[in-house]
């Protein structure tokens, strides 16, 4: 039987050591996995983690994939710091994509620089409103936000399908369940010519800086910190638990919604049923791997994006199953939690005996 005892002092270096050792252990794990699958493990690791970084295409794809992960994880980290467990970012992302995309379609074929900002605003507001549903239920009826936000994800995904199969279907699309392709005013500009890398990545970097400022310098960040430490102290400082719950869901839902509209007006360019591909869930790993710190989230977002691209490359070049990406991400979270437990608790083996 294991015995866990809380450590009095937690080493400061654990902020770096925990994610690094989790990444290290995960690499060892997949290394062994590749051997068992009969593949050359060094080559496989090279193809997944190094090769994408050696080409312009790889780098630009990294930018494309990391953008939604970083933006969603920033929002999630805000709530996680406050002790609000929003697991439904995937749904908020889907709603943002749908409402933002629908806005662009509504103004087809009007052109103008105003269109994208309007679509973004609509997506942020609708993502935040969708996020508010579990928030209000938690505040008013003390429901579990983990369950409600997660289940609303499936509602959101089905709602997207219903819209794309129905009202938003492309009138000239031979009955395919897809919307019309967005016209030029509804498409985000590209940063590097000839690639898919779009300005959404710059928005993500801007948000990293903003979130860092919000958390370290602004009152909002202070109250979030208080809320994560002690609900009683929060009340004493003049803020209520419900205010923090609402704020967390608004920020998280808003950012997830923004990530959604960036994705549809960026690489996808239209509304399709397959917009939700799990970024909202992967972003949870990003948030924790980044230690809920904006800069950490930026780096973790890049790493997790790399696993998507590398996984695809390994599928093409080595015939490895695409599931390898999911396996790596899952194992990473597992080792991360283990490393966390190991730094926070002293673990020892004991005989099963009743002791006070």
């Amino acid at each position: 039987m294991f015995k866990l005892e809380k450590k009095a002092n937690i080493d400061k270096s654990s902020v770096f050591m925990v994610p690094l050792s989790a990444i290290g252990c995960s690499l060892i794990f997949v290394f062994i996995l590749f051997i068992l699958l009969g593949k050359n493990p060094t080559l496989a690791l090279f193809i997944i983690f190094i090769e994408p970084l050696l080409s312009v295409f790889g780098i630009s794809e990294l930018i494309v994939k990391s953008t939604p992960l970083i933006i969603i994880a920033l929002g999630l980290s805000f709530g996680f710091r406050a002790g609000v467990w929003n697991i439904g970012a995937e749904g908020q992302y889907t709603i943002g994509a749908l409402s933002g995309g629908a806005t662009i379609l509504a103004f087809y074929p009007m052109s103008g620089l105003w269109l994208l900002p309007v679509a973004f605003l609509v997506a942020i507001i609708s993502g935040a409103l969708w996020g508010m549903i579990p928030g209000i239920l938690k505040a008013k009826f003390n429901t579990n936000e983990i369950l409600v936000s997660l289940m609303l994800t499936y509602v959101a995904i089905l709602f997207l399908s219903a819209m794309v199969y129905g009202p938003l279907k492309d009138p000239d699309g031979f009955n395919f369940p897809e919307s019309r392709l967005f016209h030029d005013s509804g498409i985000l500009p590209i940063i590097f010519h000839g690639t898919r890398a779009h300005v959404g990545f710059l928005i993500a970097i801007f948000l990293v800086v903003m979130m860092h400022f919000l958390l370290t310098r602004h009152m909002v960040g202070f109250f979030i910190k208080v809320s994560g430490e002690s609900p009683r102290a929060l009340l004493f400082s003049g803020k209520s638990r419900n205010q923090i719950i609402y704020l967390s869901f608004i920020i998280c839902g808003g950012l997830a919604g923004l990530a959604g509209v960036i994705e549809v007006s960026g690489p996808i360019g239209q509304l399709v049923p397959a917009i939700p591909v799990g970024y909202g869930f992967t972003a949870i790993i990003v948030a924790f791997l980044g230690r809920l710190n904006p800069v950490g989230i930026f780096l973790a977002g890049l790493l997790l994006a790399l696993t998507y691209i590398g996984g695809e490359a390994a599928q093409i070049k080595l015939g490895l199953p695409n599931a390898i990406t999911g396996v790596f991400q899952g194992v990473l979270l597992f080792f991360l939690l283990a490393a966390d437990a190991y730094t926070k608790y002293k673990i020892s083996l004991v005989n099963i005996r009743w002791k006070i």
Binding site: R217, M219, F222, R353
Partner: protein, 496 residues
Amino acid sequence: MTYLLEIAGITKSFLDIKANNNISLKLKEGEIHALLGENGAGKSTLVKIIYGILKPDSGKMLLNGEEYNPENPDFARKQGIGMVFQHFSLFESLSVIDNLMLGQDEHVSRLTVMDQLSYIKDEYDLYLDLNKTVATLSAGEKQKVEIMRCLLQDPKIIILDEPTSVLNPEEVKKFFHFLKKLSSEGVVILYISHKLQEIKELCDFATILRNGNVVKYCDPKILSINELAKFMIGKDINQSYKLSEVEDIDVMNINNIKYNNPELYGISLQEINFNVQKGEIFGIAGIAGNGQSELMKVLSGEINNIKQGSILFHGKEINYLSINDRRKKGMVFIPEDRSGHGAIGNFSLIDNLLLTNLWDVDFFKNGVIDYIYSAKKTKEVIDEFNVICKDENSLASSLSGGNLQKFVVGREILKGPDIIVCEQPTWGVDIGSANMIHDFLLDKARMGATIIIISQDIDELRKICHRMAIISNGKLSKIYDASSITSENIAIEMAK
């Protein structure tokens, strides 16, 4: 005469505070022995030593005439000593029987335990559905589970820590009946309490503790409640402080406040009436859990939906004002708990200063916190109030209790408030810091501030208050002059 347990000269210190000073105690077979004292008198420390949780610094214990040095509670249980804590140690999600099984040695089978339990149930009238989940039980029933667990060990001595605090009067009656039956079979009961009426009714013998010393051995049936109270609370009033002048201006009026507590076992407030004047220090005494924290929240605005009665500050009703709106009007609050309420251990002192200041526009601009100004103010608190720490970036948890409390008190006083409402301002604080905190408060009162102190430390209140009242069961007594209140008055008001 032989004694089952003899304790001789037990002393135990925590840092510079002597929690137990040369305590001796003898328990004889079949006796219900009261351990009487106020909070902090040293009762818990003593029983933790007997039960093997703490080790004494000096002194010795004899069990059945043989030396007894319990290594841990397991050892104590094997020697026939059982204990029921005030706070239950049960697994909420497990059934009653599973909880009981967990207390047994590995080789004891479920059937044996069931057998024993059915005997205990019949013998002592302790009926309880063994398959119920503990979480669904009432506090009184949970206590039954603890008692059953204790009885399964076939103990010779049972230590009960404030057992009636979770029982209603009807349950108390039954419980006493049970204890008397148990003692008639030769089991010794060490009964910890500060409820004098109960002790008179139940106990054969009482040892009264005050400030870690035994002040009296007696038969509680012979002594009156007033006499017991006098021993428990002490008589020596240290009137060395010079009190401030009170001006005849009402600063705060509390008129017939009523608050229904929605929490289970929470205390509701009613008939709370008092007024405080400029320069006055007003004390509210009472035993823990009689509505003090509720009253504190009502005064501070952490509860701000009082519909019945009124709270007037400078003549204006503030029932519905939030805590920060009250702070804006010149009120400050010092809650009882320094860890996680009034301050946060994981936060720097600067962040702890901000905790009660983020309504004051000096500390932020457009929502952005001015950390330079905050650091300056934090340094002022540290310097003016003698807070011993490395610097303003130190974590609150790195400070000693006394220094952190000086910081918390200083943080509020520095705002120059009209009124200070504090709860247990010197709880768990060393004597040096406690005296300093009293000085800070008295100084402030001399400069015209009004102070309300809610405290369980009656000596403290008699020392620094002008007037005081006692809160009991959510009701406030009539108001006494602190200089003329007697131990009898206090005991009677507490028992109401």
